[in-house]
Structure formats: C-alpha cells, structure tokens
C-alpha cells in the first residue's frame, strides 16, 4: 500500500488534468491518486466539471438581438457608403472618434451607443422615406466644407443603392428639413432633470415612475419648489437621454437612485394607445454608452 501523507491541492489536480504537469511530478501525483480515494474523487470531480460545462447547450441568439445587430451593421454600412442621412443628429453634439490610423480612404464614423445605433437605424428608415427616394444624400453642414461622401474604392462592386456609382453624391437641400425634424431644438436640451430623491426598486419601478410623473406634472417649472428640483441636464445627461430616445422628449428624467445606487430614470409616459416605458441607466450613460441597468413598460394611461 502506498503512503499518502498529504492530500493534493485541488488546483494541482486541476493542473494535472489540464496537462500542465508532466514527468516525475505527474507520476508522483498519479501514484498518490491510486491510493487516495479522496483525492481520486476530487480529480474525477474536476473532469466532471468540464463534462458538465460541455453539457450545457450554447444559447441561441434571441431574435430581438439578431434584429438589433443586423440593423446596427446595416446602419454602419449605410453610413460608410454615404447612403445614410442620420449623422445629422450627432453632427452638433456627438464626439467624433479621432482617426486612429490612416484609413483606407473611408470616412471615419462617429461614436454611437448601441441603443442609439438601433434608434438611428429606425430614424434612417424614416428619413429615407421622407426624402422621397433620394436615398444617396449626405447632408452637409451649413457653411461647412460641404463634405460629400463618395462611394468607397472599388466601383466595380455592385451596391444596393438606386444611384450607386453615379458619381459624386448630391445634397438635396429641399429635403433637409424632413431629416432635421428627427432632432428637435438642435443644440438645446428638450427636457429638464429632476432630483426626486427616490430610491427606485425593481419590484415597484413602474409604480414609482408613474407616481413621479404624476408629481412632476403638478409642479410648475417657475415656482420656487419647481426650481429646486428641476435642472438643466448636464452635457452627459443630455447625450445619454438623446442616445436612448433620440428626438423624443422624455416625460421624466430623474437623477435618483436605483437599489441604493446612483442612477437616472428616463421615462416616456403612456400615451394614446401606446404603453409608456422607463429606462434606468447607470452613471456611465453617455453618448458612447447606454449603460442601461433595466427597462420596464409602464401601464396604459389611466390603468
């Protein structure tokens, strides 16, 4: 019978199992395992962990995520090829990511939050419809350099756009208006931030948001009490809200707490036939990042 004075450390057994230990040391541990049921059980358990992990089927990508990512990639492709009208919104506010290297002659794209990208894709679709078929238009900033995006190199590659490869892209000033409507009051925040002091909780989030919306609607903005709790948003708060709800003024933006942590609640009240919704975002929410902690649908109005 072999002696086994001390048991082998679990990590060492795991390293043995992973093929990290060889030679005389491995032989010594194997010898110990042969005579020590306890270590042998741990060793078998470690292989069992691998088998167990392998037994869990990989989750399929939810359809909603697939749709969202497809839209984000399509939007990115549209921006690159100059068929998207949406950069308008960010032209005035979004920080442009500086070119990190000399690119292959492609335009640098702006930084967007994932949520914003999704919203932009929808906005782009709306704008394209509004533009009456002038899909290949890159709006230029007034008085600016008139940056017109031309198709990327490789003109032989077929493109989807109806006027693909038809030379420099034209700006259609008559349609600027419809695109710009996506951003109300350009440069001016269309909402105020309140600081209700509420500590929102997951179980009661919807009700708390509803209560806060009700309370805020009763406070006139120009009264003393109104001024105390209403503030102009900081640049970051503005970017955050615009990223989550581009072009839609929120009903409530409350710099409060969620489960005891600093958080901001952004809500859109229920309207005619449409459920409201509320997002809780963390302090990192900004133009480049949504940082959404949770999201709820609000009950129908009057319900």
């Amino acid at each position: 019978m072999r002696r086994h004075s001390a048991h082998v450390d679990t990590v060492v057994l795991a390293e043995l199992g992973a093929g990290m230990i060889s030679g005389r040391r491995a032989a010594r541990i194997h010898a110990h395992l042969a005579g020590c049921p306890r270590c042998a059980r741990v060793s078998a358990g470690l292989s069992g962990v691998s088998v167990l992990l392998a037994s869990v089927p990989p989750p399929a990508m939810p359809a909603a995520v697939a749709t969202r990512l497809d839209a984000a990639i399509a939007e990115e492709a549209a921006v690159r090829s100059g068929t998207a009208v949406t950069p308008v919104r960010l032209a005035g506010r979004g920080p442009f990511r500086p070119a990190e290297r000399a690119g292959a002659g492609r335009p640098r794209n702006r930084r967007t939050s994932p949520v914003a990208v999704r919203a932009f894709a929808a906005a782009a679709a709306a704008c394209l419809v509004a533009a009456g078929g002038y899909t290949i238009a890159q709006l230029t900033s007034p008085g600016g350099s008139g940056r017109v995006l031309s198709p990327a190199a490789g003109a032989s590659i077929p493109r989807n756009g109806p006027r693909a490869g038809a030379g420099p892209l034209q700006v259609r000033p008559t349609h600027q208006g419809s695109a710009i409507h996506a951003q109300p009051a350009h440069g001016q925040p269309a909402f105020e931030v309140v600081t209700s002091g509420t500590d929102y909780q997951p179980a009661t989030l919807g009700a708390q948001v509803e209560a806060e919306i009700g309370r805020i609607s009763k406070i006139a903005p120009n009264t003393a009490s109104g001024e105390r709790i209403r503030h102009q948003p900081t640049a970051q708060q503005d970017e955050c809200v615009q990223g989550i709800m581009p072009g839609v003024p929120p009903t409530l933006v409350d710099a409060a707490r969620y489960q005891g942590h600093r958080a901001m609640v952004i809500a859109l009240a229920s309207g005619a036939g449409e459920l409201g919704q509320a997002w809780v975002v963390g302090p990192a929410c900004s133009a480049g990042r949504a940082d959404i902690l949770t999201h709820v649908r609000l009950p129908a109005a009057g319900g």
Partner: protein, 223 residues
C-alpha cells in the same frame, strides 16, 4: 441558406470584399458566426442585455477596424477576440461601477435555493443544470470564465482559445484549471441523483444535450 449572397467566399475573402466597400459583406460574415459569437458574449458577460451591448460594440469595432486584420489568424479567431475583449471590458466597467457584488450574491442565492435540488431524471433537469452552471460561472473571475467558456463550453482547442485570448497555451490551461477548481464545490452536488460514480469516471454528471438552442459550430442561424 446562410450564404445566399456569397456562397463561395471564404471568411477572409468576405472581409476583403468589406474592405473594398461592399455593403453586404460584413453583415454576411456576422451572419455566419453570430450564434457562436453570441454564445461567447453571453456566457462571458452572464447577462443577455449586457452581452448584446458588448456584441454590438464588438461588431461595430470589427466593421470599422477590418483593415487591422492581418491574416495571421483566422477571421473567426479575430472576431472572437474582439468579442471577448468587448465582453471583458464591459465587465470591468460594470465592476468599477457596482462596487457591491450584487451579481455574486444573486448567484449564491440561486445556488442556495435551486442548487440542492437533486434532479437528473426529470425533464427539467437539463434546464436546472444550465441554471446552476450559469450561476456558478458568475462566481469565478472573468478571465477564468472566458477561458472555460471557450475550451469547456464551446469546445475550442486550447491553441485556438489561446489565439482568441491572445495569451499563451500554458496560460489558457492554467486559467481553465483554476476555474475548474473554483467551480467544483458549486457544481459537485449535481452528481446527486445519479449512481455513485467510480473515481475516474464522469458518469455522475449530466451529459444531456438538448437539441433546442444548440448551435452547430461555424454555422449562422436562419438565412
């Protein structure tokens, strides 16, 4: 079905098309690999919402920086690396924000309430196992988790995982070993309900694989 547009092109050729300005090439590339990339993201981040954000961030980054791809690794390796990095970045930012380990407590609760259920025979057992594994995975360091996700859960060869994680083969093995050692106490109970296993065999663990939600390697979803 997944490659209506570019059935004959390799991943590298698709990426080249993308660099030449083809509007559809990158979307097609993503379609080919998205289920695996999703699995990597959601298993590493342990939160579907965050995983979706991480994956989107990663894909936009890959789209824009396709010119950085050097061809010294497979395109899939490069895509996986971007997704893993985006996932770990997201976790680091999240940890920096939420100093309290709410997630870990939640996972411990889950283990406490559900982990003791000896269930290897009823139909729900596979799902329970998956829940237990997910809860346990949250308890180990993200770097170890990422290695185990690639090697044990998705079955990548250690060398491929090393290329994805941009670390040595030895480091991958070490992270996997440490991760397995940490997981053992949380997952050991899943043996119960089955026949007492002999040391050296793995029969005590559930080996069920359901068809639902499984992904064949390298294949995209619906076309």
């Amino acid at each position: 079905m997944t490659d209506r547009l570019f059935p004959d092109l390799s991943d590298a050729q698709l990426l080249e098309r993308h660099l030449q300005g083809d509007t559809d090439a990158f979307g097609q590339l993503f379609l080919r690999h998205r289920d695996r990339l999703w699995a990597v993201a959601v298993r590493t981040v342990c939160d579907p919402e965050e995983a979706a954000d991480a994956l989107q961030e990663a894909m936009i980054s890959a789209f824009r920086r396709a010119g950085d791809f050097r061809g010294d690794s497979a395109v899939t390796t490069w895509l996986h690396r971007i997704v893993v990095n985006a996932s770990l970045d997201r976790l680091r930012r999240k940890t920096a924000y939420a100093a309290s380990s709410v997630g870990d407590e939640g996972a411990l609760d889950l283990l406490a309430t559900q982990g003791r259920v000896p269930a290897t025979t009823d139909p729900a057992s596979t799902r329970d196992t998956a829940l237990d594994v997910e809860a346990a995975l949250r308890l180990i360091p993200p770097e170890q988790r990422a290695a185990l996700v690639l090697v044990d859960m998705l079955g990548y060869p250690v060398a491929d995982a090393a290329a994805v994680l941009d670390i040595s083969v030895g480091t991958v093995k070490s992270r996997c070993a440490r991760g397995r050692a940490r997981l053992l106490p949380f997952l050991e109970h899943l043996r119960c309900g089955a026949a007492e296993p002999d040391p050296g065999t793995e029969e005590g663990f559930s080996r069920n694989r359901t068809a639902t939600g499984s992904v064949s390697p390298g294949q995209g979803g619906e076309g």
